[in-house]
Amino acid sequence: MACDIRTASFDPWQEIQHYQDEHLAKGKFGATASFVGSMRDFNEGDDVQAMTLEHYPGMTESYLNKICDEAKSRWDIIDCLIVHRVGEIKPNDPIVLTVVWSAHRAAAFDACRYLMEELKSRAPFWKKESLNQGERWVEKNTSG
């Protein structure tokens, strides 16, 4: 189980491959569900040039770990991984990656979605968008 905050761009597919090679026993998992959230160049009717992602060092990591622990206690999963970007972000950059490995698919699907919903509602991150007209804070996350 790992929860990483990254200050530089990351490749979600390489992250999954590397984590899997290092932490998952071959032939023991049958299901890998993943989600990548990436930056769009358009939001709420406006073009977005860039975004700054702020977090609360310490509390953010603590909540990501808490959310992974909850997923492991609620579903029969083998392992999970969360990677989240902070700092200055450009359109198309990956922002978040959640991955769950399990024996069977239902647990992987359910737990992967749980990680994202809980991260969106509880992990202390804040987005500020850079528009042509200036900057604006994203007000709130919509429920999934």
Binding site: H84, L119, A123, F125, W126, W137, N141
Partner: protein, 77 residues
């Protein structure tokens, strides 16, 4: 005998500070920490509060040495 207060995102900009220290006293609530830390600014409706990196309500009582944080709704992911 102090409480560390932190402000994030829009609240950091609105209060004009990322961090403050206020003196500890008996029966101090998180709401009172906000008032002292911001010179009596009104707390925005949707403000979230954390003590030692756990979410709490604004009537939560703080202890000496606590880190109290205030921030807007989270927008990660």
């Amino acid at each position: 005998m102090t409480i560390t207060v932190k402000f994030f995102a829009r609240l950091r900009e609105q209060t004009g500070k990322a961090e403050a220290n206020i003196p500890m006293k008996a029966n101090l609530t998180v709401a009172e920490v906000w008032q002292q830390g911001t010179d009596n600014m009104a707390m925005p409706d949707n403000t979230l509060c954390a003590v030692n990196m756990e979410y709490v309500n604004s009537d939560h009582l703080v202890s000496d040495g606590d880190e109290v944080a205030f921030f807007p709704p989270v927008t990660g992911g």
